[in-house]
Amino acid sequence: MVKNKYFYYLFLITALISVINYVPRSLIDRRFDGAMMSILISIPIGTVLLILFTKLMSKFPQQGLPEILNGNLSGFVSRPLLVLYSTIWFVAGLITILAFVDITMRYISSDVPSYIVILGFLLIICFSMRMRTESILYGLEVLLVLNLPLIIYYLLKGIFNPYFSWDAVRQMVTYLWDIPHYSSVAKSTFVFTGYINLAIFNRVFENLKVRHVWLISLTALVTLLIAFLMPIGFSGVEGISKHVYPWFTTADSLRTKAFIIERVLFLFYFTYLTFSLVSAITSWHITLELLKGAFQSKQGKDQGKNTKKVVDWACIIIFSGITLLMDNLNQYTMYKVGQIFLDVRLIGEIMLLATIFLVFRKLKRGRST
């Protein structure tokens, strides 16, 4: 059993990883099209979803999604649902990995073949995703806490940089009153989406109570604004459209004299590499656990252990295979896939919420009669 603080870590890692998962870029693409407004709108939407989901999950203490669905619905409904929902997390992890491999190829290891880089990622992720749920949370905590001072350093370094143009930021703010598009709202709400990891991680929370929701909302708002406005401040309202990874370009325009490393990009890369690995590990851990739930027989515990192992290895092979195949996609297609995922994600989340709510209502009605 773990303490409540781990919920905030789950939220924080997703908020921070949104930089890799194409959120700033998608918002920048729609910067004249209501991106500012969508950021503001996404805050109440995200907060409401977060509160609803945590409230619902706390009605099922120490149960994950597989237990909730398998225990209260018939196998014909619950199993396909579990497989369906597991794909959301799988794709989330996949996009994080592929985007980061692309960044690695571009900025760090341009002379190493991309499949070797992917194999390195897969090695660590597949090894770690089979660990116990608590262990993953401990690892998440360690890596987040170690990197947080660095993040603060980048932010201060960026904001107090003489080349940071506040005029560009002010100009961007003038587009505040444009009517936002659904897709940019969907992308902004991604910052909140860490709460959805409770679908599995709820198993290890003893008695989840989320206090200080305002703090989460505030963090999300600040994260979104910084993620969106900082690159604009550095590259200008027009110039920013030419960059594929606006945040890495921004980090690369920072220089430090304090270390034996001169370009802040490398420190930033180090931080985000750990984040994307941890984020991919959490996502795929959830996928794995959901699939285990889907393929587990309801009776017979000795059998269960064996099927778990089979599912483990089958998942490792399938996940790795898909990742290696997807490596052939070019940057443009990858970006499109990422965008579609971000759009579908919001609907998927609401569907998941509705499913759990229906199960809860069914349970309650069963009890009252």
Partner: protein, 457 residues
């Protein structure tokens, strides 16, 4: 107590079983109805005890009944019930005494050959107590009880090992200990099926859940003060006879980087020392890997001056950087092993030849770069900063994984390795307790408890 049956006496059976031992001693004291048969192993029993407390009183007492009651009431004497207990105890060094009326007694006269309480060898500290555990269980328990005079301190005795019959004392503070862990430990100790237990570290191997681990999950210490400190934190001690070490469990990663000095110094100096140790840990694991990654893959990461400096010093080196690192590190490992195993009189020669002459000559010949020599020495020194021996060895092994990762993936590989190690450490459990957490406040409850007992608010 058992009445002798007709035919073979129990003592005769015993002497038959032990026949062929040169150190078997059989004596007859007195004659006829007043006689006593004696049987013991000379090597295991203390001859001065035998003569002073067994033989002399026999001739001084006025009759056999007085002598029997003297033997019966002597502290440590037990009554021999059956052949098995007789045999076991004679092998331990007890004296078997059989009276003519058929009563058999086991008189405790065992001789313990062990080194006296001496200064610690493997965990040296500057200030503070310097005595270390010995090979004798009783002495060790004495050392612990002496420092922890509480009615809550319990010591249970079990035996591990089919042939060595090593006595293991489980010691714990009854109030602070986690009962679930204690129960788990008892079950696991029962489950150990081996012939010999010769070292405390060996017990760790048999007690843990997974065989192939990179990191130790129980602390093995020779310092009584460390043992007692952990006792007060609610941990369990396994005092293993004949080994001179004590096992502390469950333990967390931080325990391995704690020296007892930290508690004795002023708080700020203590924290500083601990920080230094963590730095040493990081340097000795990833410094060689960083050298490989940055020279062979990502020289652009460094400032230009440094990149040029390294490239300049590597100009004459005819092979890739990872080979250079491997060669020098392996040589360094040889040096460490050699100076460890060599007799004390030759040891310094090995260090001089290896460290000074080889290092300088290798650089001058252009086989390795100057900077490489600096890195190797830095790694060697920082490795010795880790206070506990078992963790030191783990770290020594671990740096090679990092070099392999760096040689394959470059800078990326180091970060991959770091994340992998952190995740691996997090997946480890020491008796069901998480092994690696950044805010390890699990002992907080015990500290509060300790504060309450001492009347703090």
């Amino acid at each position: 107590m058992r009445i002798r049956q007709s035919g073979d006496s129990l003592l005769q059976q015993l002497s038959q079983q032990l026949s062929g031992n040169a150190d078997l001693a059989q004596k007859e004291l007195g004659r006829g109805a007043d006689g006593v048969h004696m049987l013991y192993l000379k090597s295991m029993s203390d001859s001065s005890i035998v003569s002073r407390y067994v033989i002399t009183p026999f001739y001084e007492m006025k009759d056999i009944l007085a002598y029997e009651s003297y033997i019966e009431n002597y502290p440590g004497t037990t009554v021999g019930k059956d052949e098995k207990t007789l045999l076991e105890n004679v092998l331990k060094g007890f004296i078997c005494l059989e009276f003519e009326n058929g009563h058999i007694y086991l008189f405790e006269a065992n001789k313990n050959e062990s080194s006296p309480v001496s200064d610690g060898q493997t965990e040296v500290i500057v200030q503070g107590p310097s005595d270390a555990f010995t090979e004798n269980l009783q002495v060790n328990i004495n050392l612990i009880r002496h420092r922890y005079q509480s009615e809550h301190l319990k010591a249970e005795l079990t035996v591990v090992g089919a042939k060595s019959r090593t006595r293991v004392a489980i010691m714990y503070d009854d109030v602070r200990v986690d009962k679930a862990i204690l129960e788990e430990l008892r079950v696991r100790l029962e489950g150990i099926k081996v012939d010999l237990i010769q070292g405390a570290g060996e017990l760790d191997k048999h007690l843990s859940d997974t065989k192939h681990r990179l990191f130790p999950t129980v602390v093995v210490t020779e310092r009584p003060d460390r043992a007692v400190f952990n006792l007060s934190e609610g941990k369990i001690l396994l005092v293993v006879d004949t080994t001179g070490y004590v096992v502390i469990l469950p333990s967390i990663f931080n325990d391995y980087l704690t020296a007892m000095d930290d508690k004795l110094q002023l708080p700020i100096s203590g924290w500083f020392l601990k920080t230094i140790r963590y730095f040493g840990l990081i340097i000795s694991t990833i410094l060689p890997a960083i050298y490989v990654a940055f020279t062979s893959f990502n020289p652009e990461v460094w400032k230009v001056q440094i990149a040029l400096l390294v490239a300049g010093s590597r100009a004459s080196v005819p092979y890739p950087s990872y080979l250079e690192v491997f060669i020098m590190l392996v040589l360094m490992e040889f040096l460490t092993e050699a100076s460890l195993r060599l007799p004390k009189s030759i040891g310094p020669t090995a260090t001089t030849v290896g460290g000074l002459i080889l290092g300088t000559a290798a650089t001058e010949a252009g086989l390795v770069s100057n900077i490489m020599i600096i890195i190797v020495s830095a790694v060697a020194i920082s490795n010795f900063v880790i206070p506990l021996n078992m963790m030191m060895y783990s770290i020594r092994v671990m740096k090679y994984f990092f070099i392999i990762f760096a040689a394959v993936f470059g800078l990326l590989g180091i970060v991959l390795g770091l994340v992998g190690v952190v995740m691996y450490l997090c997946s480890l459990r020491s008796f069901g307790k998480p092994y690696f957490k950044i805010f390890a406040l699990d002992q907080w409850a015990n500290r509060v408890q300790g504060g309450k007992e001492n009347g703090q608010k």
